[in-house]
């Protein structure tokens, strides 16, 4: 699950980070770290460690 905030409104998207990020290109190749950051942010938001 990915949540997207636009103009202050947060929407839950029922998609995996890979799908949500499909429109973005990172030429330096940090995808793996971005993916990890998304998962970490989601965990933190759920109150996890």
């Amino acid at each position: 699950m990915v949540s997207v905030t636009v103009n202050g409104k947060t929407r839950q998207l029922d998609v995996a980070p890979d799908t949500a990020m499909a429109g973005h290109i990172c030429r330096c190749g940090t995808y793996q770290r971005i993916r990890a950051a998304i998962h970490r942010a989601a965990t933190l938001k759920r109150g996890g460690a």
């Binding site: 990172c26 030429r27 993916r35």
Partner: protein, 721 residues
């Protein structure tokens, strides 16, 4: 995506005011003064023993980094090195970007040119920077010894201060600056032993990342200068050497916002008050071109020409034993042809530069790997002496070797000179992909002879392509072009009879230094063919290589590490297979194991990549991992998609719909393992690229029995019949 609104003023203030940045809150890098007045040795209260650092009475340490930041992280690693030997407090460090001044900041790895490529950032500067920090530390210790009237040997340091161990007295560096300034600068100060390193070899958050996350970082294309106009250049449809016959600017000049239309070396520039207006003006422009000699060149013709030339002898680059006799010896022989395409760097930030030219001076803001070349080019165009050209080296949205070139600097300086006000010339994505300096296409014939045990007794390679140095006139066509032979000439395997031949054939397509240069194609050729030999011999591809690397212990080291961490030989889910490859490039040794599956339609999925790297001393280990991870994505993009083709001299790929980039969903799980060999540092920007293609293609063979000998991978060649 973080909003960028409201940051424009901040950026402009930054550029005009040149803020000094503290570690941890860096938003860009101030450019140190004008060329020449950097080492302020005579300024009271500033200890500046060399061009790399200065310390003021508040104990603030300002470090001047010469290596441009293109995302590789050197703007953090460089101050780590100086701060370690200085024994500075990280929080009191400020970092600024060096001005163009090759005398002070030339890259020892590239003959003193102020040019940064070839993964030289750390490996060619480490000792120099350590000494720079150590010299200052030595002077501060001496100053403290004088102050306290004690022997130098009793004075130690801790971060930011000199300490007298016997009495516990302590003096912060800032309070020692005036006394230290009067002391001679030691030429050969003692360096720390490895066990004393405080910053070197340890992970540290990058100074440039916060600004890149919050959008405040100033890349070349973000530069704003008061009164600046924006230019877009209509370039020839043909990739190079076409000329403008005539043009009609009437309609272009009628477009609102368009100020001027001027002809320059690289085309016809539409100068406007916004990029949008410049683009519209460009569309309204009528230009008649003479296509020139490259207008007749196409990819098919290049391929046919190379195939023909591969049948004729080339220049011998290496010749051990008697390969002809070995190949004719009656044993088993194998022959294969390997081909790779042209590739474009595809920096995420298209080429651009900003310039202001007056009668007295020239200022250039350029996202460049080549500050020295930028200065030289601007001096040539303006007729000013180099010291009157100030270069602000901006953050780059990718370099990869594309920004070694100075064509985009020529654009900005020529247009700015013509219009008399500051101008930013901005390329479109289409400009960028169709007017590059391409990784050369190459055609390679490989032959080998195996003895009765399957061991190779002869190896022959003839490579046909356009040599980078030859095209630039630095090497004659009849000579060996070293830039084309990396990873081919230095074949590490123990094979008694070996000949490597090179054929230069330049069809007029500009070729350039693409991340890992010739190693990017040659490792694919060599490591795929070694794999063919292993399978022909009925041996395990890892064990086969390992047995041939007796004289190459560091190759063997990373090969074994990658295999061990990848679980080489252990079972995989049905349909998956592993491939392995190893290569030396840019001072470092890398090996990859790829785990791959291929579906019935021929689509390749790379599930996992395990990398092993021996880059000697890993000054910033997390940055080593980051470069290796990025190298996998960069190389995999080329393996799966990268294919620049030409028709009548025109590059056929214009944007990401025809020149696709790897996306997150295609990115394999990547693990990086650093082998600590205790050796001096090697490069890290490039060595992670070459072995990815052969590891993936060898895995495809293991999975399907189909050998990929032409890149990029074509699904129709892999689909089930």
């Amino acid at each position: 995506m973080t909003t960028r609104s409201g940051t424009g003023i901040g950026r402009r203030t930054l550029l005009k005011g040149g803020l000094a940045m503290g570690a941890g809150l860096v938003v860009g890098f101030r450019v140190a003064g004008r060329a020449g007045d950097v080492a302020e040795a005579q300024t009271p209260g500033v200890l500046a023993p060399n061009q790399w650092l200065r310390i003021d009475r508040d104990g603030i340490v300002t470090i001047t980094n010469s290596v441009p930041e293109m995302g590789q992280g050197t703007s953090t690693t460089m101050p780590m090195i100086v701060a370690d030997e200085l024994d500075a407090e990280w929080e009191r460090i400020r970092v600024e970007q060096a001005p163009a001044n090759p005398k002070l900041y030339g890259n020892p790895g590239i003959g003193g040119q102020q040019l940064y490529g070839g993964s030289h950032g750390i490996r060619s500067h480490l000792q120099m920077w350590r000494k720079a920090g150590a010299a200052a530390r030595q002077m501060l210790r001496e100053a403290a010894a004088q102050e306290w009237g004690v022997p130098l040997s009793e004075v130690d340091t801790e971060p930011g201060a000199a300490v007298h161990r016997p009495t516990g007295r302590r003096l912060p560096y800032g309070q020692l600056v005036d006394r230290a300034q009067a002391l001679p600068v030691p030429a050969d100060p003692p360096l720390k032993t490895k066990d004393k390193f405080r910053y070197i070899g340890k992970d540290r958050p990058r100074l440039d990342v916060p600004s890149k996350v919050n959008g405040r970082a100033v890349y070349g294309s973000d530069v704003k200068v008061p009164g600046m106009l924006i230019a877009s250049i209509e370039r020839s449809p043909v990739v190079a050497r076409a000329t403008v016959k005539r043009f009609d600017a009437t309609a272009a000049k009628a477009v609102p916002g368009v100020k001027q239309v001027v002809q320059v070396t690289n085309g016809v520039a539409v100068v406007a008050d916004s990029f949008w207006a410049a683009q519209n003006g460009r569309k309204a422009l009528v230009v008649e071109w003479d296509d020139g000699p490259v207008g007749a060149v196409g990819s098919d013709a290049i391929a046919r020409e190379y195939e023909t030339l591969a049948g004729k002898p080339g220049v011998v680059a290496r010749n051990d034993g008697d390969v002809d006799r070995a190949l004719a010896g009656g044993g088993r022989t194998l022959e294969a042809v390997y081909r790779v395409p042209f590739l474009e760097h595809a920096c995420m930030e298209p080429m651009n530069a900003t310039a202001h030219v007056t009668r007295e001076e020239c200022t250039v803001w350029a996202p460049t790997q080549n500050p020295g070349g930028t200065q030289a080019v601007a001096a040539r165009i303006t007729g000013l002496p180099p010291e009157r050209v100030t270069v602000h080296t901006m953050f780059m949205g990718g370099g990869f070797g594309r920004r070694n070139e100075t064509d985009f600097v020529v654009d900005a300086v020529e247009v700015a000179k013509a219009v008399g006000v500051p101008v930013k010339t901005l390329w479109t994505r289409e400009d960028d992909l169709t007017h590059g300096f391409y990784r050369p296409t190459s055609y390679n014939v490989v032959r080998a002879a195996l003895d009765a045990q399957g061991q190779p007794v002869g190896w022959f390679t003839r490579a046909v392509g356009a040599g980078l140095l030859t095209q630039r006139g630095a090497v004659q066509p009849t000579q060996v072009d070293g830039s084309a032979l990396a990873a081919l000439r230095d074949l590490p395997y123990d094979i008694p009879n070996l000949r490597i031949e090179w054929v230069h054939r330049d069809m007029g397509v500009p070729v350039g230094f693409w991340r890992s240069v010739a190693s990017s194609q040659n490792a694919f050729v060599v490591e795929s063919f070694v794999d063919e030999l292993a399978h022909a011999a009925g041996k395990d591809p890892f064990e086969y290589r390992r047995a041939l690397l007796g004289k190459a212990p560091r190759h063997k080291g990373v090969l074994e590490l990658a295999a061990a961490r990848a679980g080489w030989g252990t079972p995989l889910p049905a349909g998956r297979a592993r491939g392995i490859a190893v290569c030396f490039s840019y001072g470092s040794y890398a090996a990859h194991v790829a785990e791959v599956s291929v579906d019935d339609a021929g689509a390749v999925t790379v599930h996992r990549v395990v990398a092993a790297i021996d880059c000697g001393l890993a000054v910033h280990p997390d940055q080593v991992r980051a470069q290796m991870e990025g190298g996998v994505v960069y190389a995999l993009t080329a393996v799966l998609h990268g294919d620049i083709t030409l028709d009548r001299g025109r590059v056929q790929q214009t944007n990401f719909h025809t020149y696709p980039m790897l996306r997150m969903a295609q990115t394999p799980r990547t693990e990086v393992h650093i082998l600590d060999s205790g050796e001096a540092p090697g490069g890290i920007g490039e060595p992670g690229v070459p072995t990815v293609a052969p590891a993936v293609c060898n895995a495809i063979f293991a999975a399907t029995g189909k050998r990929v000998r032409r890149l990029p991978i074509r699904t129709d060649e892999l689909k089930k019949a």
